[in-house]
């Protein structure tokens, strides 16, 4: 058990231990759905939602089902099933509430299921032995951190599309990875504030 408060973990997972910029998880959708701020915002919200819920759900599944039954070795399968089911529910909610978001997310919504950041967050909170509140804070914080990163990138890309002349060899994913690296360097600046792990 770590001796840090849930509040600290929440901010640390957004800024200093950002799951995308420090662990580089969840890159596929980050690279492909970051052309427009509006879509990035939509996917970001979906990820926040899914990550928070799955972290809590996976916390319960792990400590109240797998541990008592000594089935810890099944954690990967159990987590994936939980994530897949919850993504389905989120998909239905989005389809009901926003046609525009549903159409622009398209294939990426089901792909949150295999978004490594979501599974990564669930596994980290087990490895780091967080308690319930810490898990909740970590899940929500990681989601918000991921959203922050993709929106920052989408903003930069939107501006780049209008202003910058990128050399052809770097167009697309190439320049995006470079930009991501610079954003990650920028986030190191936060590391004086809070620190976990």
């Amino acid at each position: 058990m770590q001796e840090v408060g849930a509040f600290v973990i929440f901010f640390a997972s957004i800024f200093t231990s950002n799951i995308l910029l420090t662990n580089f998880l969840g890159m596929c959708s980050y690279l492909s759905v970051s052309r427009e701020i509006r879509t990035a915002w939509g996917l970001g919200i979906a990820v926040v939602f899914v990550m928070t819920i799955t972290s809590v759900a996976n916390y319960f599944v792990y400590y109240y089902m797998l541990v008592p039954l000594q089935l810890e070795y099944l954690e990967y399968i159990a987590f994936i099933i939980v994530i897949a089911a919850l993504v389905q529910v989120v998909e239905m909610i989005i389809e009901r509430t926003s046609d525009r978001l549903y159409a622009s997310l398209g294939i990426f919504l089901p792909l949150i299921t295999v978004n490594c950041a979501v599974l990564g967050a669930a596994l980290f909170l087990i490895i780091r032995k967080y308690d319930f509140y810490q898990s909740l804070a970590y899940g929500a914080g990681s989601g918000i951190g991921w959203m922050l990163a993709i929106m920052a990138l989408a903003g930069i890309r939107a501006k780049m599309a209008r202003r910058s002349k990128v050399i052809p060899a770097l167009e697309g994913p190439g320049i995006v990875l470079i930009v991501t690296g610079i954003i990650a360097l920028g986030f190191i600046g936060f590391s004086g504030i809070v620190q976990i792990n």
Binding site: I77, A78, I81, V82, A85, R100, A103
Partner: protein
């Protein structure tokens, strides 16, 4: 005896999966059920089940919007005017709509969904579009790559169309083709033969629908067609007429001309210029000769652009665009009806314009 311990992992995973499935089903029940909603189309109101696209919902109500891509937002035929009850333009539609259309609230019916009470406006003539089941009665080769299909309508048993309009033919999955496709073909028969649909189809290299029609469709088979569509039909004026076609483009022209009354033909003196490469690309010559004999005011002028050995041709030669001027002395008195390949069509429009034909009096099908 096997210990229960062996089953714990499987049982616990199964119960986890089951409980999640229950959650999904509950969510589906509460979230995906839109109940019955009211969809207003022009001045008619339908009570429909919510949740599907406007295109699909209207199809259930027997209103057939034109659609060639089957709802994948690629053909942009299924445009409707959204009056109330729909949100912002979707990213899937945006590339297919012009700024003007966006400002008029024109949307793609295959993308927007009926989720609550809503209203759309469609062109009034779409109400008369029906889905027909038809049986192939006869098929014959007109040239080596154009076939003439005659379908007998089964249900509904009659079609009400204007000569020159087209139908959408549904080609079912066959062989390696795994989905239905819809393709537009002009009707070539008389509009007053209401229980028959005639099509002239040219085999497209590797074309999904034409390959089906040429190699798989046999006399006696039943097919599905929707129609009639299109605003290519005879305008009711007294102007002289020039019709220009090539290949299977003869279809709508044949329908238009054969439906004109003797008096009209005397008055409007139509000329039909038909472009072909060689003798073997010409067809229905005797039918046109008969038509000419019956109506002295009408002339059928085939023109060959490249003769083959043994063609023995005494008619017009050269490209169809070179022949037009001879038969259209003063474009200002003329109305033009065109059908053919896009390249020929564009070239003919240019020539006609230069001859003084008012652009608003040049008619051709837009489905090319």
């Amino acid at each position: 005896m096997v210990s229960i311990d062996y089953f714990i992992p499987a049982l616990s995973m199964a119960s986890l999966a089951t409980s999640l499935a229950v959650i999904i089903l509950l969510a589906e029940h509460f979230l995906m059920d839109y109940g019955e909603v009211e969809l207003q189309v022009n001045d008619k109101t339908f009570k429909v089940k919510g949740g599907s696209t406007v295109l699909g919902t209207l199809k259930q109500e027997k209103i057939f919007l034109p659609s060639a891509c089957g709802g994948r937002a690629t053909c942009a035929y299924c445009k409707v005017k959204a009056v109330t009850g729909f949100g912002d333009i979707l990213p899937t539609e945006a590339p297919l709509l012009t700024k003007e259309e966006v400002s008029q609230n024109i949307r793609l019916a295959c993308q927007i969904k009926v989720k609550n009470n809503c209203a759309v406006t469609i062109p009034e003539e779409l109400f008369s579009i029906k889905e027909f089941t038809a049986r192939l009665d006869s098929v014959e080769y007109l040239t080596y790559d154009i076939k003439h299909f005659k379908f007998k309508l089964l249900s509904p048993s009659e079609i009400d169309f204007k000569a020159g309009q087209y139908v959408q033919f549904q080609s079912p999955p066959y062989g390696e083709v795994s989905e239905s496709v819809y393709r537009a073909y002009s009707m070539s028969g008389r509009a007053d033969a209401r229980d028959v649909i005639e099509l002239m189809v040219r085999l497209v290299p590797e074309g999904i629908c034409t390959t089906y029609m040429f190699n798989h469709l046999k006399v006696g088979h039943e097919v599905s067609l929707t129609g009639p569509y299109g605003d290519f039909f005879l305008r009711d004026t007294d102007r002289k007429m020039v019709c220009i076609a090539g290949g299977s483009g003869m279809a709508p022209i044949r329908s238009i001309l054969s439906g004109m009354t003797t008096g009209d033909i005397e008055k409007r003196r139509p000329v039909f210029l038909f472009g072909a490469r060689a003798r073997r690309d010409l067809f229905l010559l005797s039918e046109w000769a008969e038509f000419e004999a019956k109506h002295p005011g009408f002339r059928f002028i085939p023109a060959l652009s490249g003769q083959e050995p043994g063609d023995d041709w005494s008619g017009e030669t050269g490209r169809i665009t070179d022949v037009i001027a001879k038969y259209v002395p003063d474009g200002r008195d003329f109305e033009a009806y065109l059908c053919g390949s896009p390249g020929m069509l564009n070239a003919c429009v240019d020539v006609l314009r230069n001859l003084g034909v008012n652009e608003e009096r040049i008619f051709y099908d837009k489905f090319g």
